[in-house]
Symmetry: C2
Subunit: 318 residues, 2 copies
């Protein structure tokens, strides 16, 4: 049995044909080409699904879509998507009518997290929290094989948990949200601040070599022994550790998985992070089990795999 | 069918005989009388269960116990209880062997929260988060009728979510935990600080009239128009609002219920709190559904009712 996973982004629409075990058989993609109407974007999604099935000479049992914004999986509607400029669009029924297949929809970060839980870094775990360290901090919570979506479909906004009340302003209007401390954007902000204060720092050289300041700059300069860069990395890791420890105290999941650009630092990030998180966990001295803190493994394919796995789950429960 | 609920506290052991609908038929209690061995305390729990059944001339189908500390419901063991000084005690099997009934155990705050979800302020809701504003901030998370306990049994430590990193030291070792901003202890600390700074404030009079500073003092003096007291109340409400908004962004539950001494302020606390929380909720401008923020209704009986309801659920699933 094969499943279609659709990763609907602001830049590209990616469609994949995926096995029940989470292996990607074939993918196709096309630019989202915004601004366009929801109907035009959906037309392309349908076309890409037919194309990937025709190319593979296969049929699919169901479709799962990850979509940016607030998505109500139960009603199958995109409540609001700032990226796509959709308000209350019946995405599930629109696609289902045209593809003549069952369709399941979810928020894109949630769906990618579901992919990691079902077929990636948290495969086999009874619970997992996935954090994507990118422009913001997105993610998803999977408990007993199910996405936590709350009664509005909008739960798991872990990036908008305030961890430093009164701190940096967040795009959401609050101050000190986890994502103002732990996103790639936050790391870049901290790097720029340190560069302005320390003209002698190797951060400047690292940025020049890399064609500009990025989430890598501080890690690169710290590896060369630059103290200013080391302090930036430690400050960033502290903010990330505070939020991860909160998540463990709240959910005590079996796995916390990190994805996104910053997570590409791998063990260079994870080793000090584990050391900082552990003593922050409530009752850590007596706990017999520990949450595993790991890097995600599916990369840019997490969205399509997650969509396909969600479609499989929905079909199994029907 | 009747169920036994046991609320095992550091001061008293309360046992109740409860209907399947959550009505309390009869209760008995005895002092916990610490320090005593786990076996002695359990002996009293067994005796009280037999007593309440004999008095009522009834039998019970199952038993549920709320116990302070880290409780692993799956293995039926109390991993660690600071209050009781128990380490890795097999409470479930010990009681079950003596009572010859199925026993389910959970953390006391979680079990009381379960009672509110099953038979109190969140009855009928698909999800609820209950916060107890007392010495600390305890609570429980109920999703789809089930307690969130994580894979260690220690989840839902909502009071130990850092909301103000670098803030007041917490008993857990971190700084700026939600409970350092939103517990009754925090409110008393803020009240004392304001009293020291403002000798002219009516906070002093309110404390005298009430026999000392308590969680009521600031509310009482604020009602008399005292500005210093008003500022304490607003500061406390802000800290509480930040944590509640985090909880909504994380879980988007149908209901958030508040219990404990401070919650006795009722609508005097809830009305300004709802106004402060609402704009903090991610996507509030587009949300079609809102989390209801309410007071809990079961009072000191939440623990025994929760224990009984948990026993009923465990039996139904067996």
């Amino acid at each position: 049995m094969l499943y279609l996973g659709i990763d609907l982004g602001g830049t590209n629409i990616k469609v994949g044909l995926v096995t029940a075990g989470g292996e990607v058989v074939r993918t196709v993609s096309a630019p989202t080409d915004l601004p366009r109407s929801a109907e035009e974007v959906c037309g392309d999604m349908v076309r890409l699904c037919r194309e990937v099935l025709d190319d593979a000479g296969e049929t699919a049992a169901a479709v799962g879509v990850g979509c940016p914004g607030t998505v109500d999986g139960e009603s199958g509607r995109v409540v609001y998507s700032n990226n796509l400029r959709w308000v209350d669009f019946p995405l599930r029924d629109y696609l289902s009518a045209r593809l003549e297949l069952p369709v399941t929809i979810g928020n894109d970060a949630n769906v990618a997290a579901y992919g990691e839980a079902a077929a990636g870094c948290a495969r086999g775990a009874e619970s997992a929290v996935i954090l994507t360290l990118g422009t913001g901090v997105g993610g998803g919570v999977i408990l007993g094989g199910r996405l936590l979506t709350g009664f509005t479909g909008a739960a798991s906004e872990l990036g908008h948990m305030v961890t430093a009340d009164g701190g940096e302003p967040c795009t959401c209007g609050r101050k000190g949200c986890f994502e103002t401390c732990a996103s790639a954007t936050a790391l870049i902000r901290m790097t720029r601040e340190a560069m302005a204060e320390h003209p002698e720092s190797l951060l400047h050289t690292a940025a020049l070599l890399d064609g500009g300041v990025s989430g890598r700059t501080a890690f690169d300069a710290a590896e060369l022994g630059d103290e200013t860069a080391g302090a930036v990395v430690r400050r960033y890791e502290h903010g990330l550790a505070v939020g991860i420890a909160n998540i463990i105290n709240i959910f005590f999941p079996e796995v916390v998985g990190l994805s996104g650009g910053v997570a590409n630092q791998g063990e260079k990030l994870l080793v000090p992070l584990r050391a900082e998180v552990e003593p922050m966990v409530f009752g850590h001295a007596y706990a017999k089990k520990k949450t595993r803190l790991v890097g995600c493994t599916l990369g840019y394919r997490a969205g399509i795999i997650g969509g396909a796995m969600l479609a499989r789950q929905a079909l199994a429960e029907d």
